[in-house]
């Protein structure tokens, strides 16, 4: 029976294996391992850890949430901002459209989040001025 690997070890292995040449194989191995060991519930956590280790290595994956589509200029500004913040050489953006944020943008990075949405600002306003 195979030895149970820690989530950190798995994430490290996958982060190392996500080169263009090995990407497919590594992802297939991870999926097989999780299914065989009945640990598929940990997938989200492992992906989060992989993103963290990738960002440590200079490849940052960011989720950008906004109410509308972002134009190329804004995306470039966001990429530059992320590079500046994380010292990453490579940044990949996942855009998410969510009208409930009303306006602005929320940038989610591994271990960091910048929420500049109007809905967040309104929530802060409500929380700050609500009487105890």
């Amino acid at each position: 029976m195979a030895r149970k690997l820690s989530r950190r070890s798995l994430a490290l292995y996958v982060a190392d294996g996500l080169t263009p040449a090995r990407r497919r194989t590594t992802i297939g191995q991870l999926a097989a391992y999780l299914v065989e060991n009945r640990r598929t519930k940990e997938l989200d956590l492992i992906v989060r850890d992989v993103a963290y280790f990738l960002s440590q290595k200079g490849t940052t994956s960011a989720t950008v949430t906004s109410a509308f589509d972002l134009n190329a200029e804004t995306k470039a500004a966001i990429t530059a901002f992320i590079k500046d913040k994380t010292n990453s050489s490579q940044v990949s953006l996942d855009s998410l459209i969510d009208p409930s944020v009303i306006g602005g943008v929320k940038i989610s990075l591994p271990g960091y989040e910048l929420d500049q949405t109007i809905s967040h600002k309104l929530t802060v306003l409500k929380t700050r001025f609500k009487k105890a």
Binding site: L70, E73, F81, P99, I102, V105, Q116, I118, K130, K131
Partner: protein, 179 residues
């Protein structure tokens, strides 16, 4: 007896004229006197002592009864005095009890009034406190609800007025501020 009759006859002869004139038979008179004396003697010897003794006893009884009655009267008078004294004392005690009871009742009423006033003041103070708390709570609730409404309205207005280009400008500004 014959001597007596003879003496009576001789005496009667000497005075026959007076006694005869008066219609008195002196011999019979003497006999009656003698009989009377005998009667007196017999009565004095046998009847009077018994009678006197009985009378004396009766008198003694009466005197004793009188004395007892006097004593009883004295005792009754004494009892009356004692009763009067007791009544006076009882009236005094009763009046003291009544005055004490009045005093106590007035004290109880005063205490009850004080307690009632204190209780009423407490109730009023508690009601004031509760009203103040309620007012504060309502104010807070109103403030929070107003805040919610303002946020909601702001969100709606901004959401309707915000365009894609404005949003991009907003994002650019936010990123610039966050640097």
């Amino acid at each position: 007896m014959s001597f007596l009759s003879q003496f009576a006859a001789e005496t009667a002869e000497a005075n026959s004229d007076i006694f005869t004139a008066l219609g008195i038979d002196w011999r019979l008179l003497i006999l009656q006197i003698v009989a009377f004396l005998i009667l007196v003697f017999l009565l004095g010897k046998f009847v009077y002592p018994w009678l006197m003794k009985s009378v004396d006893e009766r008198q003694a009884n009466i005197e004793a009864a009188s004395k007892a009655a006097a004593n009883a009267q004295k005792a009754a008078e004494k009892n009356n005095e004692q009763v009067a004294e007791l009544l006076a004392q009882a009236r005094k005690e009763a009046s003291e009890i009544v005055s004490t009871a009045k005093l106590e009742s007035s004290e109880i009423v005063a205490n009850s009034e004080k307690k009632a006033i204190a209780s009423a003041e407490q109730i009023v103070a508690a009601a004031h406190d509760q009203i103040s708390k309620d007012v504060e709570s309502v104010k807070k609730q109103l403030h929070d609800e107003t805040l919610e409404l303002v946020a909601l309205a702001t969100g709606k207005v901004v959401g309707e007025t915000l365009s894609k280009s404005t949003n991009n400008d907003l994002i650019a500004r936010a990123i610039k501020e966050s640097k």
